[in-house]
Amino acid sequence: MLKIEDLHAAVDGKPILKGINLEVGAGEVHAIMGPNGSGKSTLSNVIAGRDGYEVTRGSITYNGRDLLAMSPEERAWEGVFLAFQYPVEIPGVNNVYLLKAGLNAKRKHQGLPELDAIDFMGLVRDKASLVQLDPDFLKRSVNEGFSGGEKKRNEIFQMAVLEPRLAILDETDSGLDIDALRIVADGVNKLRSPERSIVMVTHYQRLLDYIEPDVVHVLADGRILKSGDKRLARELESRGYEWVLEEAAA
């Protein structure tokens, strides 16, 4: 599904990623943990194709294709989805329009007919219930005036509608209270499938209590220093990141 090899990336000329190697298979859930400033969000943004992140070396292969050669929208059409750490408010563009245009652009790319308004609204109502979103919010502008929790739920709701093959969840747990965290995690769990890979980027272990990863990676100073199963996450929670860094330095 996703293969990252020796990925180096810089922001404003400053090296952030310094040789990432990562392979995510179909249906797998990976957690990428690490201290602040380790490059977690840079990795998410490079995968999604945001401007301002310069890849200086290495490659990302997605379903056998060169991901880095694709525009952000092509990546979306091919099934890559980024749940934003800070979802953007877009006054004047409503949620229904965003999703309908996004989904139909993807369907067009896949050679599928566009969904009409009735089919689309049916789909959207189904998916909104997945993260307990009030259907009324669909008429509102994208994320405008949403609470932090509503914004994150909206991201997962969009993921449910767009049905990606690779979802990157960038700090989806940050800013959530425990109830909102459970709702978001439930939503993600319902979206787990053998065809869908998920990469969760997080600072804290608590998200992993709700969404159980197959593999846990520790990212620090732009490199993946250690990988393991979910027990690694628990160990990080109790011991912090220091020991991993020391172990790597040794």
């Binding site: 194709g49 929208e73 979306a76 989805f81 980024l82 877009i90 004047g92 563009v93 996004g102």
Partner: protein, 451 residues
């Protein structure tokens, strides 16, 4: 004003004007003749503002007029033939309106709905038939030349106008449906449309002015529209006034809207999309306590378009409110000018006024000059103002693209969302939907002209 701020019109134009007057509708009526004569005098006296004039700092009117002087006094005959299909593109979706079509400033009965004339004095129809015996509500006032932002071409309109929209609604009455006056101009033609709207106490109406052109496909030559609208509202009257300027890429549009309010609510929705050059002046005077005035505006310009909008609101009386909300979208090498002046006179205590002008600049070569001007001579007033110039937000663009929007679609979506804030203030959804569609294709077309 220093002498260089004004340029005299070419010799011979004023005498030509006097000669042309004699063949115009209503000629022989003393009141009208005196008015036209006074306008010719004003034209000769007041001259044409140059770029040295503070109100014309960015728009070179003398240069714009140069190719038109020889034709200024010879408005086209009213017998133009053209493909009426052009009107389909001007239909405001399924808005049910009384349509009046003017071609080169002349009423075209064949393409128009019948005028509305009630026994109580209610009237909505062409102006020309009223001119042989102008009704008392028709303002033919040479003193208007003292009003703010008045210039020589406004006087030329007074001297030379052929026809236009006339609306009078008696006290307490309402127009049954909106009046849509469509002004079509043909390549190479000059027109001087003149509109009069008068609402008596408690009367209500919706009036739409729509300016478009019929471009001869083989000609790069545009038309010159020189339009003036005089609007009067009595106490408790309510007017919704759309003014949609959708001319072609070679046309020149000069427009003036003068509103006198003895109370009531006036709402303007002024949209300028077309023209090689467009200058619109909106002047509103709040004369009686409690009057309210709302000016909403949108200008979109691309390619090499130049669009200039000057507004002026005079708070003469206490406790009046004014709301002004203008937005601009600029692409290509377009140049836009916005100037919003608000004057609060000493008697106008408890004035409540707010003005904002926001601009979205899509290209590096586009230019916007925006300036709020407040003159306040009363002490107990609220006057807010703000002007911004910005670009599309990179985070919003990326967010949309990450959801599958192409770059072009993302830009378009954000541009429409920006402009929509103006359209959302329009009470007729049909007009709003129509403008969303037309505005976008305008920007795209302007981009092509440049490319």
């Amino acid at each position: 004003m220093s002498a260089v701020a004004m340029q005299e019109p070419p010799e011979g134009v004023a005498p030509e004007m006097l000669a042309a007057m004699r063949g115009l509708p209503g000629s022989g009526n003393r009141k009208l003749d005196a008015y036209r004569q006074a306008c010719v005098d004003t034209f000769g006296r007041s001259g044409i503002p140059t770029m040295r004039h503070e109100d014309w700092k960015y728009t070179d009117l003398p240069r714009v007029l140069t190719p038109w002087w020889s034709r200024l006094c010879t408005p086209a005959a009213g017998d133009a033939l053209f493909d009426a299909g052009v009107l389909d593109a001007l239909r405001l979706n399924d808005l049910d309106a009384q349509r009046l079509v003017f071609v080169d400033g002349h009423f075209h009965p064949g393409l128009s709905d019948a005028p509305l004339a009630g026994g109580d004095g209610l009237y909505a129809g062409p102006l020309a038939p009223l001119l042989d015996m102008p009704p008392s509500w028709l303002i033919l006032d040479a003193g208007e030349s003292e009003a703010p932002l008045y210039h020589g071409l406004n006087a030329a309109n007074g001297a030379l106008f052929t026809d236009g929209l006339a609306v009078h609604v008696p006290a307490g009455k309402a127009l049954p449906r909106p009046v849509q006056a469509i002004f079509l101009s043909r390549s190479g033609q000059v027109s001087h449309p003149r509109n009069h709207v008068d609402l008596a106490a408690g009367a209500r109406a919706t009036v739409i002015e729509q300016y478009a052109s019929i471009q001869a496909p083989d000609r790069e030559e545009g038309a010159l529209d020189n339009a003036v609208s005089r609007i009067a509202l009595a106490e408790g009257a309510e007017l919704t006034h759309y003014r949609l300027q959708q001319l072609g890429p070679h046309d020149v549009h000069l427009g003036r809207v003068q509103v006198d309010q003895e109370g009531g609510r006036y709402a303007a929705h002024a949209v300028n999309l077309g023209g090689q050059l467009c200058r619109l002046d909106i002047v509103a005077g709040l004369q009686r306590e409690g009057a309210g005035c709302e000016l909403n505006g949108l200008y979109m310009a691309g390619g090499l378009q130049h669009t200039d909008c000057h507004t002026r609101i005079d708070h003469h009386a206490p406790a009046c409110s004014s709301r002004e909300f203008f937005k601009g979208v600029l692409d290509g090498r377009a140049h836009a000018v916005f100037n919003g002046k608000i004057v609060v006179y000493p008697d106008a205590q408890k004035t409540d006024s707010a003005q904002s002008n926001a601009n979205l600049v899509l290209s590096r070569q586009a230019e916007i000059d925006t300036k709020p001007e407040l003159e306040i001579y009363a002490d107990d007033v609220k006057c807010a103002h703000g002007a911004t110039v910005g670009q599309l937000d990179a985070n919003q663009l990326f967010y949309l693209r990450s959801r599958g929007f192409s770059e072009a679609a993302a830009k378009q979506t954000l541009t429409v969302a920006f402009a929509d804030e103006v359209l959302a203030r329009m009470p007729h959804p049909e007009v709003r939907a129509y403008l969303e569609r037309v505005g976008l294709s305008r920007l795209a077309a302007a981009a092509e002209v440049l490319a």
